[in-house]
């Protein structure tokens, strides 16, 4: 069975579909339902990884099953890494959710009534993510993005807060707008090249007016979905009002899904678009600075974490100019740096959201002043918050640091000094808004009003995710070896 790549590739998606069905029927419940899903998904990711490791990239022609010509799944080292990270983070957040709902049950909030919708939606989201990481043509990508966006939007409105509903609907609207732009762009692309497969497009792409318009439309749509400045306005409210596990998965993986497509597009279809590449770089820089400044001004800790996401997504865009008009070595460094940042941010941001929820649900307030003195009661959560934020800021030892090292190195090698400055300023801004939080938690203050029912699983999950971000900085060799070079990703 493990010899048939078609089956292996279908496995993550089939497992998600099965789990969605089981959770809809609600047999079995809670941990008994979750554990088999986690185990089987991990096994599927492992089998795929082992196959790709020994046999190289898997390509599956989807036209055989009735899809149009050119539709295909492609599983390379990057896809394997993304699948593994997804398995780890979604599993961690799902496990965390058990404790999260348990706590709400103790507090008898109304959250409970909607818990039953959470699990099937999470399963669909998981499957959509798996499909997205494997897709390599416009059609499959579009399908995966839609499934992802719809399930994510549905999860956001689960929270019974009115603000969450508003933010969720707003997200849905922006997401559909983004899809529309993307679809228009792919339509123009198809009109010009009569091709939907990225591998084939990469070979025939040539600069021109229609090509430029198609790329602009697709990029704009994806940037809207990925909340890239200045198209980010939906994100802070959505992330600070949704249920915490939802925000965590969303910030760690869902917004990044659009970035994944964006990165592939730019590697495949960007001949002679230097000016546009620099424009993207400046948009990223603006995101870094704006997100950092807003995070520094906010009083509510979840909003700080949300704006930090906007700032961090800006870093990812820097790879576009860095890999554009530079030597091979600096392009390679930028490619490695950006994916290392992608993964460490995914782990660190999920950890940050989970740790923040632990703090907030203990003190019962979401503003910074409410956090004074909380570290005596939740040392583990504060520790997780601290470790994760080390990676977010980009201080050693962490994935964020090693990634920024690689990006700095790439910028220096290619002589693009402006990004050196941007990276430095971004790091200092990151330190400013993170340490502002610590200033409050370290302030002296004795608390008597805390809720001490914190399930230990919630603290352990946050800590493990934060530690994963740190380990990624110390031992990035294995993931980076799997990653290959940027051009591999689209090479036939």
């Amino acid at each position: 069975m493990t010899n048939d790549p078609r089956l292996l590739a279908a496995l993550p998606i089939m497992l998600s579909a099965m789990w969605a069905l089981l959770t809809l029927l609600r047999i079995p419940k809670g941990f008994l339902s979750l554990a088999p899903a986690i185990v089987s998904q991990s096994a599927a990711a492992y089998l795929l990884g082992a196959y790709v490791h020994s046999n190289g990239t898997i390509r599956i022609d989807l036209s055989a099953i009735g899809m149009p010509a050119g539709a295909m799944l492609r599983i390379d080292g990057l896809s394997v890494l993304l699948l593994s990270a997804t398995t780890l983070i979604v599993s961690a957040c799902a496990f965390y959710s058990l404790g999260y709902f348990h706590l709400h049950r103790l507090q008898q909030t109304r959250t409970l009534a909607r818990e039953k919708h959470f699990w099937p939606l999470l399963a669909i989201l998981w499957g959509a993510l798996s499909l997205l990481w494997m897709s390599h043509d416009f059609l499959t990508t579009y399908v995966a993005l839609e499934a992802l966006g719809l399930s994510a939007a549905a999860m956001m409105v689960l929270s019974d807060r009115p603000a969450a509903t508003t933010a969720g609907l707003r997200y849905l609207f922006y997401m559909l707008l983004g899809s529309l732009c993307f679809l228009l762009g792919t339509g123009i692309c198809y009109g010009v090249y009569a091709e939907i497969n990225l591998e084939l497009l990469a070979r025939s792409a040539r600069p021109g007016g229609a090509h430029f318009i198609a790329m602009s439309l697709m990029s704009a749509g994806l940037m809207l979905k990925a909340a890239i400045f200045p198209l980010h306005s939906w994100l802070p409210d959505a992330h600070s009002n949704a249920w915490t596990p939802v925000s965590a998965v969303h910030a760690a993986l869902v917004v990044k899904g659009s970035f994944f497509v964006f990165a592939k597009l730019w590697v495949a279809l960007s001949p002679e678009m230097e000016a546009a590449a620099h424009f993207i770089g400046w948009a990223g820089s603006a995101a870094i600075v704006w997100g950092g400044l807003m995070a520094f001004r906010k009083q509510h800790i979840k909003q700080i974490v949300a704006y930090s996401t906007i700032s961090q997504l800006g870093y990812l865009l820097l790879f576009v100019p860095l890999s554009m008009d530079a030597g091979e070595r600096s392009a390679q460094l930028a490619w490695q740096g950006v994916w290392l940042l992608f993964f460490s941010h995914a782990f660190a941001k999920a950890a940050l959201f989970l740790a923040v929820d632990n703090l907030v649900s203990t003190v019962g307030r979401t503003d910074l002043e409410g956090l004074s003195g909380v570290d005596c009661y939740l040392p583990l959560s504060i520790l997780s918050f601290g470790i994760a934020s080390v990676s977010i800021i980009g201080l050693p030892v962490s994935g964020g640091f090693t990634a920024k090292w690689l990006l700095l190195h790439s910028a220096l090698l290619s002589g693009q000094w402006q990004w050196v400055l941007v990276l430095t300023i971004g790091t200092l801004l990151g330190a400013a808004y993170i340490f502002r939080v610590f200033k409050y938690t370290l302030a002296s203050g004795l608390r008597t009003d805390c809720n001490f029912n914190m399930p230990v699983s919630k603290e352990i999950v946050a800590l493990s995710l934060a530690l994963a971000a740190v380990l990624l900085g110390m031992f990035p060799g294995w993931p980076l070896a799997l990653l290959g070079t940027g051009l591999d990703t689209v090479a036939p």
Partner: protein, 499 residues
Amino acid sequence: MNTIQVLMPLLVLFTSLLAAPIIFLLPDESRTARTIINLSAAIIKLVLVSGMFLGVYLGVDFEISFAVVGDLCFILRADALGLMFAGLSSLLWLFTTIYAVGYLEDSSNRSRFFGFFSICVASTLGIALAGNLFTFILFYELLTLSTYPLVVHRGTPEVLAAGNRYLQYTLTGGAVLLLGIVALHALAGDPAFGDRARLAALPETARPHLMVIFALLIAGLAVKSAMVPFHGWLPVAMVAPAPVSALLHAVAVVKAGAFGIIRVVHDVYGLDFAHFMGLLYPLTIAAAVTILYGSARALTQMSIKRRLAFSTVSQVSYIIIGVSLFHPMGVAAGLVHLIHQGLMKVTLFFCAGNYAQTLGIHGVDELDGTGRRMPLTSVSFTVASLGMIGVPPVAGFITKWYLGMGAAGAGTYWVILVIAISGMLNAAYYLPMLYRIWFKERRGDWPDETTFAPLETSAWLLYPTIATALFSCAAGLLAGLPFSPARWAAEIAIGEFLP
């Protein structure tokens, strides 16, 4: 290499790194358990470092390295210079831990304090054993992170403001340093410490880049070593508890900066190459300015700890001026002052803490008559002060002697003048304190007295103070013995000039 040689640097690092999470998780009340873990970790570390001293003396290598990404390596290695710093920090960690246990006995959040205390020492050890600039900056930034909670330990608004200032300076400095290190890496690959030929072998077109990178590296490091004009955080940070100030001033933060400058000058660029490029002279001037400025500012400070803080600004630049003189005696002076200033300054801060904790004394003008009330503390304070002024046989004298010889040997005679003026200024701000302690009569009650009969103060506070004072004397008196700091430093310095 056998396993012990590979594991030794890791073991040294992990004794305190692993102590940290255990201490974090202990409840605040379990004082005995925490103290036992703290002290045994400190003692184990001291024993391990002594073992490495002996090993390096006998020519054994201790090294662990692995590639992090590409040609970028994580290297921990025990060399003679690194061991000096490692020895200093593990010795003073033991005393500071004992002292801190006594000092913070009834404050809150002790587990947090001692946890970060351990991480702080682990990062100092990491800095000492780092084998290249990449490894160095990992621990250098970890030090910033772990000292911040120590500085703001009391959590009052004043302290938090000081913490902000501390972070602004050190993180900006860290960013500049990182930029320099990455730029050097992009230009010359991964220069391990001691691989001095690598930069000199670069083509001449790279020279201007190397000068800019040197400036970036030194500017980044100068923030922590509190060189003018980057010293602003140090006098502000003295609002921290006394053991933290002692740690910051004597072992950890300022020393990390000074040690980094030594590494860059001595082990990355190499003295010959740096001299050839004309990079040393500006450093000498910057250090001279800092020495005079710090001493002059110390004169007018009326808080004991602030006066000591400005004295640190001045004294740490002795290390830098020594290394920047192109002469073996100068280098020896710089290296040995790394140890000597640590021993003397830690004693002074311990004494300041004793006065504050026992009698409630914080200002210079409250010191009258403390000599009779607290004779042992006052003797220690006197010994260390005289050492700072440069009176033989205390350790500080050795430094100034070497420094003078180095300046004369290198032909930069004006440095001798700077040292002489600074010595007079030192006398001018230390001697009045000694005069008040021994010769002025106390009028009225002490501001806030606690009695610890039959001792003058708590034993936890008193014995570490006496011990470090004795060490300051011993380092001066026994300077000629094989393992003395002076002898060790001289051998490193001569090795540099006579390959």
